[in-house]
Amino acid sequence: MAQLLQQAFSNDLFILALKLGFLLMLLPATLVLGWVELKLGAHMQHRLGPMYPGGFHGWAQTLADGIKFVLKENIIPLAADKFVFALVPFITMLGAALIFVVIPAGPNLVIEDLQVGAFYVLAASSIGVIGVLMAGWSSANKYSYMGALRAAAQLIAYELPLVLTVAAVAMLAGSLSLVDIVEAQGPNSATGLWIPFLFYQFLGFPVYVAAATAELTRPPFDMPVAEAELITGAFTEYTGIRFAFSFFAVEYISMIGLAALGAVLFFGGYLPPIPALDFVPGIFWLLLKTAIILFLLIWMRWTFPRLREDQLQKFAWKFLIPLSLVNIFVTGLIKLSPLA
């Protein structure tokens, strides 16, 4: 048996299948996260949310929604650029799924431990913008186009604070590889204490959460989507499974991706909070920390009202970016001090 396992794990195709299987697991994860969001949002408004589908607290609601989307008519507008229009779900999904390639669930449990991991994540998460722009342009609809342009403006503005906070973490760790970043949060050789970077990045973490929410175009930064007046922005013309994929699935997958990245950068990824809990597998800690950040994102969504377009830009350029620059300066001081 052991030999068979060894043989299997040395087989490249088997490893590739495993990695693809891991990425495919993201689809059911979106259903779970969607349901959690429905329920949390409902309870924050003293409602119950879905209760019937599936029996237990409506657990199958998002599954039923998914099936409904599959069965719906797939409409391509007459004036649309059909090839580009059909390509969009793939592009946006690509941008969302590529993040997971470098998220480590253990020292060796990672699809690819790239040396430029943090840089790669930021690059990959920007691919989605191209998808959104393509969607807005190819739909031949003014609402879509407005939404796409707003999305592009917003993502450019919020990419900067995101990059700067990740840069601060990379400064602390002295590496761009996400495995190295996690390991740098491990036991300090001098004190023996496990200190996650959240301790040093008390400025960086809020900026990261704000910038990540804006990257996801989730409330309160959902101006590009703006259901009320832009009718989901760039995806106005999308229907059926294309809409579900390029909008819902991508939103939740990138949400999980950015939350997992936040867990890796600030919460110490797969490391347990205290050394005594070392026997619990690292993937559990990663999932737990990811879930905490996901809860934070959902919590913010149901609390804050949407920012106006100009407030959104002001918030990014006049507040978040200076703050993240200050954060880099503070991080530099910490790096020079005997603390680190």
């Binding site: 003293h46 409602r47 119950l48 919590w299 149901w302 609390t303 804050f304």
Partner: protein
């Protein structure tokens, strides 16, 4: 006067409002939503459990057939034109004189059209129309929402007696027929 408060004519300078430290308001908001998250939901899962509406809710309009004189006031005042009344006159001998009476043939309310304003109940001079708290009369067929006389009369069982007047309040304006001017 507290200068932090907006002036009543709305010309207050927003720059003079008291400002809290940036982020405190955001945290307060998060605190509120979290408190509501852990407090129980108020939803009543209707078909499975039934909430009792307040006793004098406006559920359905009941008709006391005997009191109706086919005066048509309700049908004429109804803003939705959802009341249908048919009647005819009959001449009856009372002693030496013959007197004409209105006989009600049909009284129907189409609840698909009714907007539950209650003007008919207010306007009825002979206390023939009442509010009832019953609300479970949904139908699969829209024509079933037109309640005819018999059905409207059946709602009377759920009509509550009139509320006791406050002490010192004026009595009802309408004199009963027995007291008459004669």
């Amino acid at each position: 006067m507290n200068e932090n408060l907006p002036s009543p004519n709305g010309s207050g300078d927003p720059r003079k409002y008291k400002r809290t430290t940036f982020g405190v308001g955001l945290l307060k908001g998060l605190g509120i939503t979290f408190r509501h998250l852990i407090s129980p939901a108020v939803t009543v899962e209707y078909p499975d459990e039934t909430d009792k509406p307040p006793p004098r809710s406006r559920g359905v309009i009941a008709l006391k057939t005997e009191n109706c004189t086919v005066c048509m006031l309700c049908a004429r005042e109804c803003p939705c034109w959802c009341i249908y009344i048919d009647g005819h006159k009959e001449t009856r001998k009372e002693g030496k004189r013959s007197k004409k009476h209105n006989i009600l043939d049909r009284f129907a309310i189409d609840y698909a059209i009714c907007m539950y304003c209650g003007i008919c109940v207010e306007v009825c001079p002979f206390d023939a129309l009442f509010w009832s708290g019953e609300f479970e009369y949904a139908e699969h067929d829209i024509t079933g929402l037109t309640h005819e006389m018999e059905r409207l009369n059946q709602w009377m069982y759920s009509v509550l007696p009139p509320e006791v007047l406050d002490e010192g309040a004026e009595g009802p304006e309408v004199k009963s027929a027995s007291q008459g001017e004669g």
